[in-house]
């Protein structure tokens, strides 16, 4: 089905090859997983298979790529699109109409199919992804998982022979992630097409018994059936300390009866919490459960309808965000939204300079942080030239540079491979041992299991679990929330 020989690609302006001497054969109907660290060339390979890399991106290519005999380097994208469908990471960015029905019909209309056939194909595609009930909905009203299902249906409607999923669940919560993998399974069973999944979340892929291709630095380094998702065990857990929840002396932040509504729909509902010095708190819950809203309230970015927020004993209503920021660091979801300077070094010292803290000691600290974040070799590089994982680490260094006492992180691990995730978490854990408090919103139960002292689980704006991490996971297991449990730990937790 797919034949790649000696494929190399170097993006214009880059010194290194993103793809380097790739050789692969993929048979019809095969289920293939491509994995590897962030920036290893997985997504670039996906773009090459769809022909986009050679038509839409400037760079030097060598080698051969053929899909069902069609030369992907020379053919029009339209011709390859008849064979290959590509579902991208971000459902928001790949939808181009305003309603579900229009979105699924879009490709069929462009192919000038008659209306009757468009209706039939759209219905078939929505049915196969389990989204037929969404057909009359505007896209703006869908959840992230529902949008991704529609994006898959829009590709499936054209009945491609190869469907590529480029980290289709990176923006989704565990429940939606599980649903998307069920969709992928259904597609393979019913349509019998070749499926290629680029993914870090290998635990979900075990039931498929896939062929696993691992890439590093643009090269294929292994190709086989060996799927080894990271399986944390209790012995891996970093030494956790239980903060004294009864003590008011070491309280860093407090919310009391916090209530936030959007259009009369409660997003946070009477949430009362205390956060203590040196605590590493993980916040989990489905998309829309109120996790980000909680962080925004703690940062003063959102004023609640009811309730109070105190940071270091002070009512935050009395302080502007730019003043609170000296003591509270906040990292947003998208790394691109928080890079403001012209070089990595300038970005890292951006906040200390704004706070008037730039001195020799701060410079030394920033140098150390850049080294720990493996960015010391990029000091003069433009932040936007970094890979996704590198940008994320730069975001972290920029915030840690001025040593805020409370660090709020909104899904900093999205799109991170386990190695990078561990690097970030190790750094944060060290800070908690030095007295900083970390509140980390994440969909990654493995890192929560390994690093956090305490776990909060939110459901429809309410705290349903708030306990030390092992106990919290046991409660989640008893609540039947298996998608939120670390890989391989379900039985162990249920036994507690």
């Amino acid at each position: 089905m797919i034949r790649i020989r000696g494929l190399s690609f170097r993006f214009q302006g880059s010194e290194t090859e993103t793809l380097s001497d790739i050789n692969l054969d993929i048979r019809p109907g095969e289920f293939v997983v491509i994995t590897g660290p962030s920036g290893c060339g997985k997504s670039t390979l996906a773009l090459a298979l769809g022909g986009y890399l050679f038509r839409q991106y400037a760079g030097d290519a060598t080698g051969e790529v053929a899909v069902d005999g069609l030369d992907a380097r020379e053919s029009e994208i339209f011709d390859i699109a008849e064979l290959v469908g590509l579902v991208q990471q971000n459902p928001e960015a790949q939808l181009c109409t305003l309603s579900v029905a229009d979105e699924v019909a879009f490709g069929l209309e462009n192919r000038r199919l008659p209306r009757q056939m468009i209706e039939e194909r759209s219905e078939w595609a929505l049915d196969i992804v389990g989204a037929l009930h969404l057909v009359d909905r505007p896209l703006a009203t869908l959840s992230g998982g529902e949008k991704q299902k529609v994006a898959i249906a829009a590709m499936m409607a054209a009945k491609p022979q190869v469907l590529i999923f480029d980290e289709p669940t990176s923006n989704l919560d565990p429940t939606a992630t599980g649903e998307i993998f069920e969709v992928i399974q259904r597609i393979q069973e019913k349509a019998g097409i070749t499926v290629i999944v680029i993914e870090h979340k290998l635990g979900y892929l075990r039931p498929f018994h896939p062929r696993v291709i691992r890439m590093e630095h643009g090269r294929v380094v292994s190709d086989g059936r060996h799927l080894t998702p990271y399986l944390p065990s209790r012995s891996n857990r970093a030494a956790c300390h239980s903060a004294n929840a009864d003590s008011n002396n070491n309280r860093v932040a407090r919310t009391e009866h916090l209530t936030v509504e959007y259009d009369k729909v409660p997003v946070l509902d009477d949430v009362s919490l205390d956060f203590h010095t040196g605590e590493f708190v993980t916040v989990m819950g489905n998309n829309g459960s109120g996790k980000t809203t909680l962080l925004r309230c703690l940062m003063g970015l959102l004023r609640p309808q009811a309730g109070d927020v105190e940071i270091f004993g002070q009512d935050i209503d009395k302080f502007p965000v730019s003043s609170l920021a000296r003591d509270v660091g906040f990292i947003f979801q998208n790394p691109d939204h928080q890079l403001f300077a012209e070089s990595v070094w300038e970005e890292a010292i951006f906040a200390p300079r704004n706070f008037g803290l730039l001195n020799e000691e701060t410079r030394r600290r920033v140098l150390d942080l850049l080294e720990r974040c493996r960015l010391d070799g990029y000091r003069e590089a433009h932040p936007h030239r970094l890979s996704y994982g590198e940008k994320r680490r730069l975001n972290l260094a920029s915030v840690l540079s001025y040593e805020p006492g409370l660090i709020l992180l909104d899904e900093i691990l999205i799109g991170q491979d386990m190695e990078n995730a561990m690097l970030i978490m190790d750094l944060l854990k060290d800070l908690t041992t030095q007295g900083s408090t970390v509140v980390n919103v994440t969909h990654n139960p493995e890192t929560a299991w390994l690093y956090s002292d305490r776990l909060l689980f939110l459901e429809r704006g309410r705290i349903v679990v708030d306990a030390p991490t092992p106990e919290a996971f046991a409660r989640l297991a008893n609540l039947g929330l298996k998608d939120y449990l670390p890989n391989g730990s379900v039985e162990q937790l249920l036994a507690r």
Binding site: A93, L98, R111, A158, M299
Partner: protein, 263 residues
């Protein structure tokens, strides 16, 4: 948590919402032109009243659902008042003496006030009513069905799709800057440029990245492969739409005749 809804489509179950977008567009164009053709303040006021009545008929409250209504009304009244106060042509209908100041209100001043203020208010309200009751997607598809090149139609649709995303993103970038200690204190043009650059650069990078993703998504579904395309949506013209167009045509014909007879 949120104020009045934005000036955007507000789905409701009303006959005005159900009317075909092209029928509504014809009415909007027809009434806008007629506003400038009529030579009677009464006609302007009549069209204004018809427009205002359209809001409750569409299930939309002028007071709570229309953003900026107070500003618009103030502007309309201001335009009217300026004409009344400073246009002294024609016969006087009211003379008021305030000490050394003599205020004279004339027929022409009032008429011009109604023309200027009334036309302004009517045009804006009619446009609001059209936007609030018309699904922009349905409008774009309808325009493409009658000959608008589909590439232009999808410029409108993708803009409508991405605009709310960019709005959210610009707010996020602004908040991210606050959390890094930036204060929006514009002390000098240089400071203004620095703040603007720091706000625009992340947005630009994000926008370009989205354009890349969207281009892959659209080309991967054969957008642009052929000069024309087919449509899933049927051109649904109902009897109400035909009636609306007939009434509009009759009205236009009547105006032409009245104009010809100089009535």
């Amino acid at each position: 948590m949120r104020g009045k809804p934005k000036i955007t489509y507000q789905p409701r179950q009303s006959w005005l919402h159900a009317l075909h977008p092209l029928a509504k567009l014809c009415w909007l164009a027809g009434l806008s032109i007629s506003l400038f053709l009529v030579h009677s303040p009464v006609s302007v006021v009549t069209i204004l009243l018809l427009t205002v009545i359209g809001f409750p008929l569409a299930g939309i409250s002028l007071r709570s659902d229309v953003r900026g209504i107070r500003f618009l009304t103030t502007m309309g009244v201001l335009l009217f008042s300026l004409q009344v106060l400073f246009n002294h042509s024609g016969s006087s209908i009211l003379d008021v003496s305030l000490g050394t100041v003599n205020l004279s209100v004339t027929e022409v001043g009032v008429a011009n006030g109604i023309y200027v203020g009334g036309r302004f208010l009517t045009l804006v309200l009619m446009s609001y009513l059209f936007v609030l009751t018309t699904d922009p997607s349905a409008l774009a598809y309808s325009l493409m069905r009658i000959g608008l090149p589909y590439r232009y139609g999808f410029v409108l649709i993708t803009a409508l799709r991405l605009a709310p995303i960019f709005e959210v993103e610009s707010n996020t970038v602004y908040q991210a800057q606050l959390t890094r200690g930036i204060e929006y204190d514009v002390r000098s043009p240089r400071r203004f440029l620095t703040l603007a650059r720091q706000l625009i650069l992340p947005l630009l990078v994000s926008a370009l990245s989205k354009v890349d993703d969207l281009a892959v998504s659209m080309e991967g579904r054969c957008f642009g492969k052929y000069p024309t395309r087919t449509y899933r949506r049927a051109p649904n013209y109902g009897s109400t739409d035909i009636l609306a167009l007939v009434v509009l045509a009759a009205g236009a014909l009547g105006m032409v005749l009245l104009g010809a007879l100089r009535i």
